[in-house]
């Protein structure tokens, strides 16, 4: 892989806190190596800002290996930047070339209010899980792990859905700010396993109810979420959620 250095112009959203209005700020960074990660480029910029006595740019990040789901930047019009099936922290600077201008915005959705600069509050996702994204089994209740065989195909599908990292890119990408990909991934994961079967009806109803309450939009199947999802979770899960919901609501007693 050829390495090269580049100079870039960054237009970054700055917002002091959730109350104040934000605006774009332009910064130049120089001699950025193509081997750096995007966040390391931000580290360089922040070091520069600190040395100039300015306020560094706040952004969420933690594991920097694409699994914790904390990083959340909307880069040049796409959540997590230009690469497919990728998180910001795994985006490397060889995706850009010398002289590029990069626009960086926070996730934008009323359900994800900005805390500062590029940091948003995604606690709505936790509350959706609280509504029913679990299997009610107290510690110690479990039977032997091999007591219930699970069809491999379903186990694989459940795993593919469970790969969701809860980053919120689906919401950021959706024109409706819908959280359906996130919710459906959890509903599918648990509905596909026999262990999740007893609660599948109440789960889907409760999770959708909470999703609506949090102020996310409805799904219109544009598939922008799937295109941007770092774990490439399929919109098929949304269709599965719809089926679960339809069935559960038809079967409801009152």
């Amino acid at each position: 892989m050829e390495h090269y250095n580049m100079n870039l112009t960054l237009k970054v959203w700055r917002q002091k806190n959730s109350q104040e209005k934000g605006k774009f700020e332009t910064h130049r960074v120089e001699n950025i190596s193509s081997e750096m990660s995007f966040l390391e480029m931000f580290d360089v910029l922040n070091e520069k800002l600190i040395s100039e006595g300015k306020d560094p740019i706040a952004f969420d990040h933690d594991c920097r290996e694409g699994i914790c789901g904390m990083c959340s930047m909307y880069i040049n019009g796409k959540p997590h930047g230009p690469w497919k099936g990728n998180t910001v922290c795994q985006l490397h600077m060889r995706a850009f070339k010398d002289g590029d201008t990069i626009v960086v915005e926070p996730w934008r959705a009323n359900a994800f209010p900005v805390i500062k600069d590029l940091v948003v509050d995604r606690s709505a996702f936790d509350r959706i899980i609280q509504a029913g994204g679990f299997i009610s089994v107290n510690t110690g209740n479990a039977v032997d792990a091999n007591a219930i065989p699970v069809e491999k195909d379903n186990a694989d599908k459940a795993f593919a859905a469970a790969a969701c990292i809860g980053c919120g890119a689906c919401v950021a990408a959706c024109k409706n700010s819908s959280a359906m990909l996130f919710v459906s991934a959890k509903v599918s994961h648990l509905a596909l396993l026999p262990q999740g079967d007893p609660e599948r009806k109440s789960r889907v109803l409760a999770m959708v109810h909470q999703m609506d309450k949090e102020g996310f939009g409805a799904c219109t199947f544009t598939e922008a979420c799937e295109a941007t999802c770092p774990k490439e979770i399929s919109v098929t899960n949304i269709a599965r959620l719809n089926q679960e919901y339809f069935r559960a609501s038809l079967a409801a007693d009152k």
């Binding site: 237009k11 934000g22 774009f24 909307y74 040049n76 019009g77 796409k78 959540p79 626009v103 915005e105 934008r108 959705a109 009323n110 359900a111 990408a173 024109k175 409706n176 700010s177 819908s178 359906m180 109803l205 959708v208 109810h209 999703m211 609506d212 102020g215 996310f216 939009g217 409805a218 799904c219 219109t220 199947f221 544009t222 598939e223 922008a224 295109a227 941007t228 919109v235 098929t236 899960n237 949304i238 269709a239 599965r240 959620l241 719809n242 089926q243 679960e244 919901y245 339809f246 069935r247 559960a248 609501s249 409801a252 009152k254």
Partner: protein, 228 residues
């Protein structure tokens, strides 16, 4: 989970859209079938007979009421959803994701639907209102029965090139609306099996191309004088 709760939830609203959408798709099949009768090129004999059958029979008349209700439900719910969905992001992006992540028409169902609504108003005023409420000339069929001469009305209307263009544009809007709406409605109703989704997708595209194309060919055929 009361019915009210079901149909006011985001998924429930989409179910309403999908159910009414599928019904409207069925209606389109009937509509396009009847209209295609003009190409018998028999001076509208078969077409007028078919149209009259629908107009005076009791079952289609009841269905017509349902059709209207579903149309209104589809339109009102659609517009409300569009407004609600837009309200979920107060501050927009400086750079949009655009066509990199989705097709433009899948993001523009509200716009396309509104265009179709405008077209629909013109269309109803053109044919349905005269046929049902105001006056319309009659013609005698070969078996001696007198029926509304919708055929001649069409023939007359589609001599005006602007009307023809409006109708063709309406059909194009419909095509894109269907290109997304057809498959999407089935997924909203819970079809998630990959194999059926693939079938429905192909079917949806075929439907979205063929049906509006046939519709669009009517005004064009009259205007060009392909049918007399």
């Amino acid at each position: 989970m009361t019915w009210a709760q079901v149909f006011t939830s985001s998924v429930g609203k989409k179910i309403t859209m999908a159910l009414t959408g599928v019904f409207l798709i069925l209606f389109l099949i009937v509509h396009v079938g009847v209209n295609a009768c003009i190409w018998f090129n028999d001076g509208g004999e078969v077409f007028n007979r078919a149209a009259n059958f629908l107009g005076e029979n009791v079952v289609p008349r009841i269905l017509e009421i349902g059709l209207f209700l579903f149309f209104i439900l589809h339109i009102v719910q659609g517009l409300m959803l569009e407004v609600q969905n837009r309200s979920k992001r107060s501050i927009g992006y400086a750079v949009s994701y655009g066509n990199r992540g989705s097709r433009w028409y899948s993001r523009s169902m509200g716009l396309l639907g509104t265009l179709i609504l405008l077209f629909l108003i013109i269309h109803l005023a053109d044919f349905w209102v005269p046929s049902r409420f105001t006056h319309m000339s009659e013609v005698q069929l070969s078996d001696g029965k007198n029926v509304h001469n919708l055929y001649s009305l069409m023939q007359a209307r589609f001599q005006n090139p602007f009307i023809v263009i409006i109708y063709v544009l309406g059909c194009i809007s419909l095509a894109y609306h269907l290109a997304h709406g057809f498959t999407s409605s089935f997924r909203t109703l819970g079809v998630h099996n990959k194999r059926y989704i693939a079938m429905l997708r192909s079917l949806g595209y075929a439907f979205a191309i063929i049906v509006p194309l046939v519709f669009a060919m009517m005004p064009v055929s009259f205007y060009m004088g392909w049918v007399k």
